[in-house]
Structure formats: structure tokens, C-alpha cells
């Protein structure tokens, strides 16, 4: 197809004029249109159609049609062949019991077809006569809807409120650091106690049996044990005390060192 050929499906001014020239003032287009008109002119009775007149009109039409659109002409040629065949069937005696439909049937079918086509043409005309959008009536042109103000949803939660208040209170009243004095039994106290008790420690004594009387808190007792042990070790180092422990986690025993300073301690003496 080249650009000069009109787009199929649409009527162009040129083509309408052309078809006007070729066909008829009514502007029919298809082969059945033509046949319909011809058949009407011949009072529909195809038996009485003059083949000669038919063929002449076809040839005249096809000749003209061929110049503008081969496609159209081809349709008409098929139709012409079919019509000629039908006409011959009508004129010739019927072949006996053949599988082909009878000529009368074919004619009846053709008549029915013509009626249907006429109805369709009428329907197309009525459809075309309806008011058309963009010609006879219009919807409003595209337009923008005014945007309503958005609904504002506050997402603040009670938690946010309380956290804000907590932060405010914390900012305005910062927590004061007050150091609570630790309740401990100091090493110096332990040493002092041991030194005072030294005269009483002639025999082996369990270290935990000579703890001072203390506040009931458990931490204080632990600190007393630790301090007493450390003080005993110090005094043992100084040669004032002897320390014995039977094994890991066994009770620790202490006693006053009987041997004067500088001499090695007795070995192997049994723990009572």
C-alpha cells in the first residue's frame, strides 16, 4: 500500500466522489449492495434478470472500480462469478438427486441474505443517525478537581506526652549524686582487732570464729572475713601469726607464733 491509497475503514472526500462516479447516487459499496439494487430493479426475481444487462453493469462497475481499489474489484469479481453460476443453475435443468442445493434453495437463500443485508444497512443508517459524542453532544472537558484540605491525623501518643514530661522533669531537676558510705570492716580495723586478741590465740582458732560482732548485713560479714584474712596474712608475713588451711575452701586456722621472730616455724605440727 502506498500513501496515496486511502486508509481503509474511513470515507475520504475523494473516495466518496469516486464511488459516486462509479456506482450510483445512493452510494452503495459492496457487491451485495449492487446486487440488491439490481435485484430490486429487476423486482427481485433473479430468474428474470438479464444476464447480459447484469454482466454489462458488472463489467462497467468493475472496470471503474479496478482503477481505484483492486481489493474492491476482487470482491465484485467473486460475486459476479457466483451470480453467473446461480443464474446458470436457475436456467439449466436440475441435476437429479445431486448433493448440491437446488437452485430454488440458493435463490431463496440469496433473497434471505438480501433481506438481512437490507436490515443491516438500515441498522447501520440508524446507528449513524444517532447523536455522536464530540459532534452532537459533549461531556465536560477534562478538568482538575479541587483538592480538599487533607485530614490531619495527630500521631502523638500518651507515651510521647509522658516522655516529654519526664524529660522536662529530668532536665529541670537533674538527679543528685549522693555517695552512700560503704559499710565495710576495714583491714586496719581487722589488724587492730587481731593485735589486741593476739594473747588469746595460743591455740589454733578458726578465723571465722573470731569475727567481730557486726551489723547483720551480709556484705559486712564478707568484708570482715576478707579484712581479717588479709590482716592475718600481713601479721603472718611479719612473723606474729601462723596460718593453716587443710585444703581449698577448708576453714582457715590462726594462732600466735610461738617461736620468736626470725626462726623458722615448726613444721608438721598437727592441727587439732
Amino acid at each position: 500500500m502506498n500513501a496515496a491509497v486511502p486508509e481503509p475503514g474511513f470515507d475520504t472526500q475523494e473516495r466518496q466522489e469516486d464511488s459516486g462516479l462509479i456506482v450510483d447516487v445512493d452510494g452503495f459499496e459492496g457487491p451485495l449492495d449492487l446486487l440488491l439494487t439490481l435485484a430490486r430493479n429487476q423486482k427481485v426475481d433473479l430468474r428474470t434478470i438479464s444476464i447480459l444487462a447484469l454482466v454489462e453493469q458488472y463489467l462497467a462497475f468493475i472496470n471503474a472500480a479496478r482503477q481505484m481499489q483492486l481489493d474492491l474489484a476482487a470482491d465484485y469479481l467473486v460475486m459476479a462469478a457466483w451470480l453467473a453460476y446461480l443464474k446458470s443453475r436457475l436456467l439449466l435443468p436440475e441435476p437429479p438427486g445431486g448433493p448440491e442445493p437446488s437452485a430454488e434453495d440458493m435463490a431463496a437463500r440469496l433473497t434471505l441474505q438480501l433481506q438481512r443485508l437490507e436490515l443491516i444497512r438500515g441498522a447501520a443508517d440508524r446507528l449513524g443517525a444517532l447523536g455522536k459524542l464530540g459532534v452532537n453532544f459533549f461531556f465536560r472537558p477534562e478538568h482538575e478537581s479541587p483538592k480538599p484540605e487533607p485530614v490531619i491525623v495527630q500521631t502523638d501518643t500518651l507515651y510521647d506526652l509522658l516522655r516529654a514530661y519526664g524529660a522536662y522533669r529530668g532536665k529541670r531537676n537533674p538527679p543528685r549524686l549522693s555517695l552512700v558510705k560503704a559499710r565495710v570492716f576495714a583491714i586496719e580495723d581487722a589488724r587492730h582487732r587481731l593485735e589486741r586478741m593476739l594473747g588469746l590465740l595460743i591455740d589454733w582458732n578458726r578465723l571465722d570464729a573470731i569475727l567481730p560482732v557486726l551489723a547483720p548485713e551480709p556484705g559486712v560479714r564478707r568484708s570482715a572475713i576478707a579484712s581479717m584474712l588479709t590482716a592475718s596474712l600481713e601479721m603472718a608475713r611479719d612473723g606474729d601469726l601462723e596460718i593453716e588451711q587443710g585444703g581449698a575452701f577448708a576453714p582457715v586456722f590462726i594462732r600466735k607464733r610461738l617461736i620468736p621472730r626470725g626462726e623458722p616455724a615448726e613444721q608438721g605440727e598437727a592441727i587439732p
Partner: protein
């Protein structure tokens, strides 16, 4: 003062009614496309009788410069047909369909769902692929499904755009439908007798889904037109 359009009711009822009418007016006026009744209902209080409101408004705009009409099962304001002369600059350049295309469209409209072969049978000539393409491109027809016959040919039907263009509310409003029925022509042959009210997507008993793309040449593949194409 009483409003004759409103049934006897309290002042509150009448106020609510007026407000509902105004909502429908505003929504339809600002809509860029015909509006479904359900969409209108969603904008209205749950007890609003949308149908009645639309009927009342439709009557109100009768005889004015634009009308409230029902088209393709939806509602829209549309200029009165006799006002077209004043709106000439709005008119888009319209190409007239050829006789063949118009007949093909009419067959599809009145006989849908219909296959290409059935259209050809009715018209008595082959339907060029171009004609169907033009109608498909205009958005007035669509492929609906496939006929449950050997070869599974594609069935065609009209679209909502078709109804909008011709200002039809439903397919049953097609002009001369009764004549066609009276002539028994809608029941002819394999052509589908059941004309749906709207070009819905529901397939008829004789159709099945398209399932998968339609080959570009498929509409062309009946032997008759193939032969003719070859002869060109």
C-alpha cells in the same frame, strides 16, 4: 413552602434531601467520566435513595443547556444535543466511517458476540482486516472471547466507548432492535441471539475465554480471505 419533588417529610428530611441532591450534582459536575451509581452512593449517607435523586436531577436538567443522562449504565452531565451549534469549536474533527465499516459495526453491535466469519456471512463479502482494525483502534469493538467451535475463532463485541460515543445507555437501546428481532434475524444461523444489556465481559454459553494473545494474523486466517489476499 414545600418542595413538590420531595415526599411529605420533616424539615430535616428536606434539608438532607437537598444536600444529597447537591452532592450528586457536585460529584457529577466534577467527574471527568460518567459516574457509576455505586460511586455516588458511596458519597451519600447510607439511607439516601440514589436512584430517586438521580431521577429528580435528571428531570430538573431536562430542557436546560446540559442534561443529566444515563449512558453506558452510568451517569453524566452532557450538553443538550441542540446546543452543538454553540460549541462548534469543541467539536473534534471526526472522520466518517466508510459504509463497510459502519455496516460491520452495526453487525457487531446487533449480533454480538460475533466472529469475523459470521460478519462475512451476514454481509456476503469478506471483511477486510483493516475494517476491524479501524473499529478496534477507535475502541468501539473489542475481542470478547472465542467461539466454542472448531478453530476457536475470536468473537467480537462492542465496548463501553461505543455506547458513550453513540449516547446509548445500554445495547438494548440500539435503534430498530425490535424490527430486527421481529424479522427473526437476530436468531439467524450461528449468530448469537442473546444480546447482553451491556457489553459486559461475561461470555455467553457459546464463547470461551481468549486465554492468551491473539495472533495478529489470526483474524485473517479463514481460507476465503486468504485466497483473496493472494489474488491481490
Amino acid at each position: 413552602m414545600t418542595n413538590p419533588d420531595v415526599p411529605e417529610g420533616s424539615v430535616v428530611d428536606i434539608e438532607a434531601h437537598t444536600r444529597n441532591l447537591r452532592i450528586v450534582e457536585a460529584v457529577l459536575f466534577m467527574a471527568n467520566e460518567p459516574v457509576d451509581q455505586a460511586v455516588l452512593a458511596a458519597k451519600l449517607p447510607p439511607d439516601a435513595a440514589v436512584e430517586d435523586l438521580l431521577a429528580e436531577l435528571s428531570a430538573h436538567y431536562q430542557g436546560r443547556g446540559f442534561h443529566l443522562i444515563r449512558v453506558a449504565g452510568k451517569w453524566a452531565f452532557r450538553t443538550a444535543p441542540d446546543m452543538a451549534f454553540a460549541l462548534s469549536e469543541q467539536a473534534k474533527e471526526q472522520r466518517r466511517l466508510s459504509r463497510a465499516a459502519m455496516e460491520t459495526l452495526a453487525i457487531i453491535a446487533y449480533h454480538q458476540p460475533v466472529t469475523r466469519a459470521e460478519i462475512e456471512d451476514l454481509r456476503g463479502v469478506s471483511v477486510s482486516k483493516g475494517t476491524l482494525d479501524v473499529l478496534l483502534e477507535l475502541g468501539w469493538i473489542k475481542m470478547r472471547g472465542r467461539r466454542k467451535v472448531p478453530g476457536r475463532p475470536v468473537t467480537y463485541g462492542t465496548t463501553e466507548a461505543f455506547l458513550l460515543h453513540f449516547g446509548l445507555d445500554a445495547l438494548t437501546d440500539l435503534p430498530g432492535l425490535d424490527d430486527m428481532k421481529a424479522a427473526g434475524l437476530l436468531e439467524q444461523g450461528s449468530v448469537g441471539p442473546a444480546l447482553p444489556r451491556l457489553p459486559g465481559d461475561e461470555l455467553t454459553a457459546t464463547e470461551e475465554p481468549l486465554d492468551g494473545p491473539v495472533e495478529p494474523d489470526e483474524a485473517e486466517d479463514d481460507s476465503l480471505s486468504m485466497k483473496r489476499d493472494a489474488a491481490e
